[in-house]
Amino acid sequence: MIVGERKPLAEIAAMLKPFGKVCVLGCGTCVTVCLSGGEKEAAETAAALSLLWQKEGKKGEVKTGTMLRQCEYEYIDDYAARLEEYDAVLSLACGVGVQAMTTRLPEKIILPGLNTKFMGYPIEQGVWKENCLGCGNCVLDLTVGICPITRCSKSMLNGPCGGSQDGKCEVSKDVDCAWHLIYERLLKMDMLECMEAVQPPKDWSSSHHGGVRTMVREDVRLESGQ
């Protein structure tokens, strides 16, 4: 899932300063599951903001709503009429949602209420971990299901660097060395030979480094191209 974290209230208040009537809009998918931008968080944010505005003597109104997916035009279209009354929308969706909303509702000010952190999953209640950088050319077959592009701090493809000690990354004792994990798993599965060949430089053009990515599937495209 896409993991987000709500921006600090002070930052949100500063960005909403010019606006009187605001909708804090939750998103019902990833950010609901990671407890950062769903219906509940939208209500909490709106309440906190109202309280702050009251304290500051700012005139205005904060309401809330939740859209199932802010990243799909059909959901945006269904919801659009309910946003008409607002000067601005504080979106608690990820950056994808904020931009889909902006593109579909170009007359509206859509502001980001979250910092989009990464693609990952909860490894325990309340702890989320990054797992995929979306590099566009998956190597998990070579590394027995542990991604060195994402989970090695240096995105190395040929084994652990000299900073790996006691299974931890040099960057932090809280970060596992991905290559240590890969090594241990290969050892267990009697597949250590996977680490022998020198993996050639990665073609990063399939990743963001190649420029903005668009994927076209002609087989599922409508004739109108929409």
Partner: protein, 307 residues
């Protein structure tokens, strides 16, 4: 292939090599560095110039190399893959070769988090292994990473890498060295050796795999200047092991600096006894003036003069 450099000649003729290390300053004023280089000129065969070590912005390794060459000294240019993509790495290598650099040490580089620009992007376009192989391919096959041919062949260059017997998984480390050799490494410098027992264990496996016959292994030696320096390395430098006994020994000594030098000399003497160790790399960080004394007392002076 003819030896690319004095360092390669020294190692291949079977002499126990000595290299020194120069850390460029956080300014463009390299006068002090030049003095250090001058002062150890009769005691080392080549000088490693670090590449923004611990991710701190400093005068570039290649820039300092140009000065050393003007001084008639032999640089080993360290090149990390942390700060440059493959376009820049290859271009910088060509630039350095163009004015006479022949020794290159290819390494990954500490994470930028440790340095004075912690908010910078860590490039890591290629990894250290791929960079070693890329240099080899440029030299031996005349091709860039992208497959295009160099317009003129590269003269011989001596390709170095690093090895850290003190990193984990320990059992994997000799195999990582084997991989670096397969990629093209001709010499390796190790992380500073303070835990000789662990180093010897690593060397045992290295010999068992026959790697010492395929690559010149240069042991890293750092004289400990103070308890503070030892603690700093113990706690803040990644991939180091500084045994507590060593610190106790220095603590107990009347003249702590003298003891630090003595330990370095003993380390070199012990390294010379280990089969497969082809030289030492003396990294006297912020203590360059003691290099001549260490080299002399370790019995490595005068340096052989090769034609």
């Amino acid at each position: 292939m003819n030896p690319a450099s004095n360092l390669q000649k020294m190692l291949e003729s079977g002499h126990f090599a000595v290299s020194g290390e120069l850390g460029p300053p956080k300014s463009a004023d390299i006068e002090t560095l030049k003095h250090h280089a001058h002062d150890m000129r009769n005691h080392v065969d080549a000088y490693n110039i670090t590449d923004n070590q611990t991710a701190i912005v400093r005068t570039s390794s290649i820039g300092v190399a140009a000065t050393l060459i003007q001084m008639g000294l032999e640089p080993t240019v360290q090149m990390t893959v942390r700060d440059r993509n493959r376009i820049c790495l290859q271009s910088d290598l060509l630039g350095a070769v163009s004015f006479g650099v022949r020794n290159f040490l290819c390494l990954q580089g500490d994470h930028a988090k440790f340095g004075n620009e912690p908010g910078s992007k860590n490039v890591n376009d290629v990894d250290s292994m791929q960079w070693i192989q890329a240099v080899k391919n440029m030299r031996d096959d005349g091709v860039f990473i992208g497959g295009e041919k160099l317009e003129h062949p590269l003269p011989p260059v001596f390709i170095g890498a690093v090895a850290n017997p003190f990193a984990d998984p320990f059992e994997y480390r000799p195999y990582r060295l084997a991989k670096k050799i397969a990629a093209g490494a001709q010499f390796v410098q190790t992380q500073c050796i303070f835990d000789l027992d662990r180093f010897e264990k690593w060397m045992e496996k290295v010999r068992e795999l026959g790697l010492h016959k395929k690559v010149k292994i240069i042991g890293g030696v750092t004289p400990i200047k103070s308890i503070g320096a030892a603690r700093y390395m113990q706690n803040n430098v990644s991939g180091m092991i500084v045994p507590e006994e060593l610190i106790t020994r220095i603590k107990g000594a009347q003249d702590k600096k003298k003891e630090g030098i003595q330990i370095a000399v003993e380390t070199i003497q012990r390294l010379r006894e280990i089969e497969g160790v082809a030289g030492v790399h003396v990294m006297a960080i912020a203590w360059e003036e003691v290099v001549p004394e260490i080299v002399e007392r370790a019995g490595l002076y005068p340096r052989p003069q090769l034609s």
